[in-house]
C-alpha cells in the first residue's frame, strides 16, 4: 500500500436521518489517495460519490451526519476538527471545483473579488500587495485573459466560468483538489480542454486530485486509479488499467460492459433493475439483487473490501 498518502479515509459512514430511519449514503468506505495522484470516483447517481467528497470537506448538511470513521488529511483527522479549524483547512488544504460551475460564482461580485476573497481570508492582509497581479496570473494559468478579472460571472461563457473555478481552486496551492463532475455541463470539446487545463495545473502545483464523475471514458483518460461505488459502498478500487482490462466485481464488469464500442457495434449491456433504496438496503451485499453471480452468502453477509492482488481491492464474496 502506498505509504505516502495525502488522504486516507477509514471506515467512513455517512447517514441522512429521516423520519423513516437512517439513509446510509456512505457505508464502510475505505480508501487512500497518494501524493500527486489523480483518483477517480465512479458510480451512478445517488451512490455516495458526492457525499464522500462533501464529507472530506466536512460540508455534509443537516440531516446528514458522519456517524463513524476518520478522514485523515496528512495524518490530521478532519472529522475531529472544530468548525473554526475546519474552516481554516478548507481551500488552503482541500479545495473544490463544484458541480455546477454555471451557478457557483456569486453573480454580483467581480471575478477578481471572488478569488481575492479566498486568498485574503486564508492569508490575511499581507496578501494584499500584488494581489491583482497574482489573480491575473492565476487566470492566465488556466487559459483566460487578464481582463476577465474585472468581469462579472454573467459576462463569461460556461467554459470560462469553469476555468475561473479551476483558477480559484489552485489559488492557495492546496494538497488536494476535489473536482465534483467539473465538466458535466460542458460540451465534449470544451470538456476536453478544461480537463486538460485541470491536469496541467494540478501537476504544476503537485496537488492530488479526486475526480468525481460517471463518465468512464473521461475518467479513463485522466485518473491513475479508480474507485467504483455502488449503493454507498466502495465495491472496487484499482488502477485504471486493471479496472478496464480485468474488472473483478460483477458490478464493475457490467459498468465496463456498458461502455458502447464502435468496433463490435452491438448494443451495450444494460443492467436490469434499479439501484437500491438506501433507506432500507438489501441485507448482505448491497448489489446481490441485481447480480448474476450472486451466491447464497451474498444475501446475508456484507463482503468486506479485500485486496485480491497487489493494489487491487474488491468487495465481493466471489474472491474470498
Amino acid at each position: 500500500m502506498n505509504t505516502d498518502a495525502v488522504l486516507r479515509i477509514n471506515n467512513l459512514h455517512v447517514h441522512y436521518q429521516t423520519p423513516q430511519g437512517a439513509v446510509k449514503a456512505v457505508d464502510e468506505v475505505n480508501l487512500f489517495v497518494g501524493r500527486g495522484e489523480r483518483f477517480g470516483f465512479v458510480g451512478e447517481s445517488g451512490c455516495g460519490k458526492t457525499t464522500t467528497a462533501l464529507a472530506i470537506l466536512q460540508m455534509i448538511q443537516y440531516p446528514g451526519k458522519i456517524v463513524a470513521g476518520e478522514i485523515l488529511l496528512e495524518g490530521k483527522n478532519l472529522v475531529e476538527l472544530n468548525a473554526e479549524e475546519m474552516r481554516r483547512t478548507r481551500w488552503r488544504e482541500v479545495s473544490l471545483i463544484p458541480q455546477g460551475a454555471m451557478s457557483s460564482l456569486n453573480p454580483v461580485m467581480r471575478i477578481k473579488d471572488q478569488i481575492a476573497d479566498a486568498i485574503l481570508t486564508h492569508e490575511g492582509r499581507s496578501a494584499r500587495t500584488g494581489l491583482n497581479q497574482r489573480i491575473e496570473d492565476l487566470l492566465v494559468t488556466v487559459g483566460l485573459q487578464r481582463p476577465v478579472a474585472q468581469m462579472f460571472p454573467h459576462e463569461l461563457s460556461g467554459g470560462m466560468k469553469q476555468r475561473v473555478c479551476v483558477a480559484m481552486a489552485i489559488a492557495l496551492k492546496p494538497k488536494l483538489i476535489i473536482a465534483d463532475e467539473p465538466t458535466s455541463a460542458l460540451d465534449v470539446v470544451v470538456q476536453r480542454i478544461v480537463t486538460q487545463t485541470l491536469i496541467e495545473v494540478q501537476e504544476r502545483i503537485g496537488a492530488s486530485l479526486i475526480l468525481i464523475g460517471h463518465d468512464m471514458g473521461l475518467q479513463a483518460q485522466i485518473v491513475h486509479r479508480l474507485a467504483i461505488m455502488y449503493g454507498g459502498h466502495l465495491v472496487e478500487m484499482a488502477t485504471v488499467k486493471k479496472i478496464f482490462q480485468a474488472p473483478q466485481h460483477p458490478y464493475t464488469q457490467v459498468l465496463i460492459g456498458s461502455v458502447p464500442s464502435p468496433k463490435t457495434k452491438k448494443s451495450p449491456f444494460a443492467l436490469p433493475g434499479l439501484p437500491p433504496a438506501l433507506l432500507n438496503p438489501p441485507p448482505g451485499c448491497v448489489f446481490h439483487p441485481r447480480c448474476a453471480k450472486a451466491l447464497e452468502m451474498c444475501r446475508t453477509q456484507v463482503p468486506p473490501l479485500h485486496e485480491i492482488q497487489a493494489a487491487h481491492f474488491v468487495a465481493c464474496h466471489l474472491y474470498r
Partner: protein, 334 residues
C-alpha cells in the same frame, strides 16, 4: 456601467412625461367635480360677516384664481405653474400660498417617515435574514420569530395601543403634537429633546409595524439564496460565516427589497395620514386630511403633485442606480 447616455436621457424624458400627465389630471379632475369652490368660499364668509356685493367678490376671486381666462390659457398656466411648484393660494387658509404650507409641513413628515422607514427596513431586513440563516443561534431565532407577527398589525392600531399605554396609563410620553405647548421653536438642546420625545411613540408604531413586512420579504428571498450553488462554494472556500452572510447571502437576497424600499421612500411625502392625525403632527398627511375635509382643491392638488413627483423621482433614481447594485441589469443596447 450598464448605463448609456441615450438611456439616461430617455429615462429622464419619461420622468417629465409622468409629471406632465399628473399635472394634467390634476387640472382636469376638479373641473369635472360638481360644485363651485368660489361659491363655497363665499358661503363660508357669509357665515361670519355680511356679504354686500357678492357678484363683485365672486368676480374678483375668479380673477385671483385665474378662473376667468379661457380654458386653454388656464391649462397652459396651470402646467407651467405646476413645474414651478406654484399651486396658488389655499382656500382653507386663505390667502396663504399652497407651496408655503406644504414646505412648512414637509420637514415633520420626512423627518418622521424617512427615519422610521429606513430604520424598519434596516432592522427588518437583518432580522428576517437572520431568521433563516443557519448560523443564527437557536434562541435568537426563537426571539426573532414573533416580530413577523407585526406584519399583520396595521400601524394605526399599534399607535392607538401605544398611545393608551405610554401616554394615558403610564403617562411617560406625550400624547401628541411635535413639542410641548408654548415651547419656543429654536435650535436648543431642550427643544430638540422635547421634539424627539414627541416623536418616540409615532416612530415606534411606524417602525414596528413596518418591521414585520420587511422581515417576511427578505425571509423568502434568503431561503432561495441560501440554496444557491455559489453559497456552497463560498463555504468550501472557507470564508468566515459573517462574510458569507453579508457578501454572498444577504447581498443577493436584498436586491428585490431595495426596490420596495425606494418605492416606500417615494411614498413618505404623502405621509402616513392616520399616524399624523392620531398624534396631531403638523405634517403633510394631516394637511391633506384637513384639506380634503374643506374641499381645499389647490391644497389637494399641490400635495398630490408633490407625491407624484417624489415617487416618480425615487423610481428614476432607482432605475439609474440599479445596475450598480446588480451588474446583471444593464440598459446599454448591444
Amino acid at each position: 456601467m450598464g448605463l448609456s447616455v441615450g438611456y439616461v436621457i430617455r429615462r429622464i424624458a419619461m420622468f417629465l412625461v409622468v409629471i406632465w400627465v399628473a399635472a394634467t389630471i390634476n387640472f382636469i379632475i376638479p373641473r369635472l367635480v360638481p360644485g363651485d369652490p368660489i361659491q363655497t368660499m363665499l358661503a363660508h364668509m357669509a357665515q361670519t360677516e355680511r356679504i354686500e356685493n357678492a357678484a363683485a367678490i365672486t368676480q374678483e376671486l375668479r380673477a385671483t384664481y385665474g378662473l376667468d381666462a379661457p380654458i386653454q390659457e388656464q391649462y397652459a398656466r396651470y402646467i407651467l405653474n405646476s413645474f414651478r411648484f406654484d399651486f396658488g393660494l389655499s382656500l382653507n387658509q386663505f390667502p396663504t400660498k399652497v407651496g408655503d404650507l406644504v414646505l412648512r409641513a414637509m420637514p415633520w413628515t420626512i423627518g418622521l417617515l424617512a427615519t422610521t422607514t429606513l430604520l424598519s427596513f434596516g432592522l427588518g431586513t437583518l432580522m428576517g435574514a437572520l431568521l433563516v440563516w443557519r448560523g443564527t443561534p437557536r434562541w435568537a431565532q426563537v426571539m426573532l420569530t414573533p416580530f413577523t407577527f407585526f406584519a399583520a398589525v396595521p400601524y394605526f392600531l399599534l399607535a392607538v395601543v401605544f398611545l393608551y399605554l405610554f401616554a394615558y396609563v403610564w403617562k411617560i410620553l406625550p400624547t401628541g403634537g411635535v413639542a410641548t405647548a408654548g415651547a419656543k421653536a429654536e435650535w436648543t438642546l431642550a427643544y430638540v429633546g422635547d421634539v424627539l420625545q414627541h416623536f418616540i411613540l409615532p416612530a415606534a408604531a411606524m417602525a414596528l409595524a413596518g418591521l414585520g413586512n420587511w422581515m417576511l420579504g427578505i425571509r423568502g428571498m434568503m431561503v432561495t439564496t441560501i440554496g444557491a450553488d455559489y453559497l456552497n462554494l463560498a463555504y468550501a472556500k472557507g470564508l468566515t460565516d459573517r462574510r458569507i452572510f453579508f457578501r454572498y447571502a444577504l447581498r443577493n437576497a436584498m436586491l428585490p427589497q431595495v426596490t420596495s424600499l425606494v418605492i416606500a421612500l417615494g411614498h413618505i411625502v404623502s405621509g402616513a395620514i392616520l399616524i399624523e392625525v392620531i398624534f396631531t403632527l403638523p405634517g403633510i398627511g394631516n394637511l391633506l386630511y384637513r384639506s380634503i375635509g374643506f374641499l381645499d382643491y389647490p391644497m389637494i392638488q399641490g400635495i398630490t403633485f408633490v407625491l407624484v413627483v417624489s415617487v416618480a423621482f425615487s423610481v428614476l433614481l432607482l432605475d439609474l442606480f440599479y445596475p450598480r447594485l446588480d451588474p446583471r441589469i444593464t440598459y446599454t443596447r448591444k
